[in-house]
Symmetry: C2
Subunit: 558 residues, 2 copies
């Protein structure tokens, strides 16, 4: 019977996140009785996810197939690739594999979540992890964080090559170019399926080398003269940090670090040897007053204008240790993530108002992307020569554009699969098709609650946020239905109550009338009564204010 078991030679490839969205990257590869997971990322809440902290993938499918899972293989240490790990490892404790820095960053994260029974495995590029039915190989990438890797899964049906996030930097800061030689070798062995980063498929040409940022920084540091320099950048962009530190040392400035994640990352990457900074260069943020402005560089978080970030707190004079003053030079070495433009703009204006000079990417070349542009994507397609292709890591329009790019390079359209999260691609050496779907979606994390905030809660939050609420309380006699106390009205987020006494009196009048009618008709169904109060009040309030507060009638029986 075993022989006739379905799909024995079919490999299944499915995404639990990262398709039709930016973030929450998680890919599952299943072959025979083994499953591997590539990455376990988070995404940040959409505007309509009120009060939600982060979003992680729905792992129902993994929960059901717990025993098959051999490990989670991490391409690199960005939040959209490792941020969901603590939540997922709480539910399925499987080994995690990743390069040294990735594992270092994961350790910090697991410690915060008090998870200390996870088996973490440090791998090096070209290292191969052998499973029963296939092998998993890590291959060195270039990206905006060191130790980024792509992953090749070797099966008897062919190789599945997942680029992870990458660019091809021919002059990288650490000197190690992406391992394109290995990709050539893989293509000779035969790449069955490629999954590739689609983030920058809309950009023509090549993405600039990280090294080009150095020239922009050098120029700014040279002209800074006696100004204090404050540089905001992504904490995870350690090559960028290295370049900033190099500039500081070149121009005889001390470096102080601000922001929790920046302090964490600098610590880990220094410990692991990814960041070279002389002991005499690094000073404590508490000691900056001991130095002249011309001797200082402060490296900080807050490139996205996040209201609680160190830079935003400096800008609004709420930072305990750093006060922005006239003459300060603030360099924002990052690009706005779509949706954050207004927050960033607000911070920049506040910095200017305090008299600081602010340099951001519109003004000088002080940031480059970590993702491949069109020409690099074409190169990776040419190098890997996959039989089948699945655009990954991007919104729908990017996936579609990437599919078009593959077609332009000569791939038959029926070999390209623009998939959705949850689609299952089944393939073997000769064929591939989207065969089924598995349950997927967003799991919202709010405080300690994972998944306990859903549509109803969000709908209520939205309603409350727009027009506030009005609570009506009445105590009624169990025996004869007469009103013993109330109606009392309490409102929040609706109108200034003090200036709206007239409106509130009117509302009370409406409620009293409803109560009277019900008493006269001897109606004791509280649901009916509540509904009547709600409807009448709603109409009255809308007519008077054109607003629809949430109305909550409460009846107490005594």
């Amino acid at each position: 019977m075993q022989l006739f078991k379905n799909n024995t030679n079919k490999i299944k490839v499915m995404a639990l996140g990262g398709l039709n969205e930016i973030g929450k990257n998680m890919t599952v590869i299943e072959y025979k009785d083994e499953i591997i997971v590539i990455d376990a990322g988070l995404s940040f809440p959409e505007e309509d996810m009120l009060g939600v902290d982060i979003v992680i993938p729905d792992i129902t499918y993994l929960m059901k197939n717990k025993d098959k899972i051999k490990g989670i293989f991490i391409t690199h240490g960005h939040e959209d690739h490792i941020g969901a790990l603590p939540y997922i490892l709480k539910k399925i404790n499987v080994p995690v594999y990743g390069a040294k820095l990735s594992i270092g960053l994961i350790q910090v994260k697991l410690k915060e979540h008090k998870l200390n029974n996870v088996k973490l495995n440090v791998v090096t590029p070209r290292q191969v992890i052998k499973l029963n039915n296939f092998e998993v190989e890590f291959i060195k990438n270039n990206h905006s964080i060191p130790d980024a890797c792509s992953i090749a899964v070797h099966t008897d049906q062919g190789i599945i090559y997942h680029t992870g996030d990458f660019k091809i930097d021919l002059t990288p800061i650490d000197g190690d170019v992406m391992d394109i030689h290995r990709i050539c070798e893989l293509s000779n062995e035969g790449v069955l399926l490629m999954l590739a980063d689609s983030t920058n498929v809309g950009r023509s040409g090549y993405t600039m080398s990280e090294k080009t940022v150095g020239a922009g920084l050098d120029d700014l540091f040279r002209k800074a003269n006696n100004s204090r320099i404050i540089v905001a950048t992504f904490s995870s962009n350690i090559h960028r940090l290295q370049q900033i530190i190099n500039m500081a040392e070149k121009f005889n400035r001390k470096v102080a670090i601000s922001g929790r994640s920046m302090i964490n990352v600098v610590g880990v990457s220094r410990d692991l040897g990814y960041l070279n900074i002389e002991d005499k260069t690094l000073i404590d943020l508490n000691d900056i007053s001991k130095y002249e402005d011309s001797e200082l560089v402060i490296i900080t978080t807050g490139t996205q204008g996040e209201p609680m970030s160190a830079l935003a707190r400096m800008a609004s004079a709420e930072h305990k240790k750093v006060e922005i003053k006239a003459g300060d030079l603030v360099i924002i070495s990052a690009h706005p993530i779509p949706g954050n433009e207004k927050l960033i703009s607000r911070v920049i204006n506040l910095l200017f108002e305090k008299g600081a000079e602010v340099v951001y990417n519109d003004i000088a070349d002080i940031h480059v992307s970590g993702h491949a542009s069109q020409e690099e994507l074409k190169l990776i397609h040419r190098l890997a020569k996959p039989k089948f292709f699945m655009p990954a890591h991007g919104e729908y329009r990017m996936l579609k554009r990437h599919a078009e790019l593959a077609e332009e390079l000569g791939m038959p359209s029926q070999n390209i699969f623009v998939m959705q999260t949850g689609d299952v691609l089944e393939l073997d050496a000769n064929s591939a098709k989207v065969a089924s779907r598995i349950p997927t979606g967003n799991v919202l994390v709010d405080g300690l609650g994972v998944g306990d905030v859903g549509n109803i809660v969000l709908r209520d939050r939205k309603h409350l946020s727009e027009d506030g609420l009005m609570i009506v309380v009445v105590t009624i006699s169990k025996e004869d239905g007469t009103v013993l106390a109330g109606p009392d009205i309490i409102s929040r987020g609706f109108v200034y109550v003090r200036e709206s006494e007239d409106l509130m009196d009117g509302a009370k009048g409406i409620i009293k009338q409803v109560l009277k009618d019900c008493e006269e008709k001897n109606i004791k169904e509280w649901a009916y009564l509540k509904n009547n109060i709600k409807e009448n009040l709603k109409e009255y309030l809308y007519q008077r204010t054109k607003r629809n507060p949430m109305i909550l009638p409460i009846i107490m029986e005594v």
Copy 2:
């Protein structure tokens, strides 16, 4: 005594909005016993203004000086220059002056607000309105709406020249270049103060002519073949509409209009002769099914991804008359306003998912700005040669950059005034200084309420939006303080109640304990009791969920 009266020859210039912000433009010029107002715009709510519809300037100063006001002079018909008019005219009924199209658009607006006793005056460029102490002259501008004007105020101390929103388009669609000759003449007479548009001061070079968009559109229409074409653009950009209509007529396509504001503007501008469209070209949106796709152009609102706009409704299959289908060509002829990037992105992805081809500004040259870039700004400074300069219309960083630009052109820094909304610039023929401040600020409009939503209401809405609320109701005996009914708990927007019974039971336990303690101690101060419930519950809920819902304890006495 009259002779010694303060400031008799001082002109006061102050902004009630438009400085350190984009939107809400309103400038006041006061001389002797006369006041004129230039523009009365609205702005759109910031992210933290939950539930607010629009924001208008605080006109306390105008209310106090009602009798001095001679009129509101409108530079052009964009919302950020006319949107607050209905609200302001309800409080101060003064004449309004503006060019034909501006007045036409204002009429539509006043009609919606049922304001029919306002004196509207249509002026033509170079027309001068004489007051007792000064004269107000309209001068033709180029901008992204026809009939845009700058305003020159002629006083015996010199001319105050307010550019309004402008670009210098040397090949405008209607053939009328900005009246730079008149600005030359003004400078010969002596421009005392210039206020100038700072929106695009960060952009080098010249802003491209509106005409260049025509070439981009022509290219897209030519390649569209049998596709239906849907073009989204700003309804007020009538020159853009004209170019789209010209293309439709050139390629033998009918034009249907979608979106309330688009229908309004097309109606008004056609009536007033600003839009040429053949009767046979324009069809009703209800009739599109009678034509082939290749015979159709649909012009729609929704360039900013606004969820209720026509384009967003088409994208999410909620539009009653237009269903997006594979092969449709959607052209978004506009630029994202900062803050709207994510909304637009969502709409574009939905359109792609429906199989439409979407062309937006990243991909093709189908939009140009309506505001002057650096070289045009330099030109206007050179032409007008003002003695004093006040950067207008922009965020702080833009105003500051514009001040630097003026300095680069040789203006002494002490003659440049980077002002805030509410600052009063006092000047005469020889001197100028910021002398005082008047009360200003944001007035929030929510439904029918103007100004009844303030910080407390917004703070409550924010609190409710993040963690929801929990209401606790208890009925207590007036006589002996025993609990007669409850405690009942009602929560909204906090957790899924069904999955949180345990949490709710715990909460009830906490409340009962507090009630018992108070009963035992014979405490009948309800404020104390409420506070105790609140504090204990807050701590319990935070420990269990890391959330802080709003807690509202209600005590009914019977």
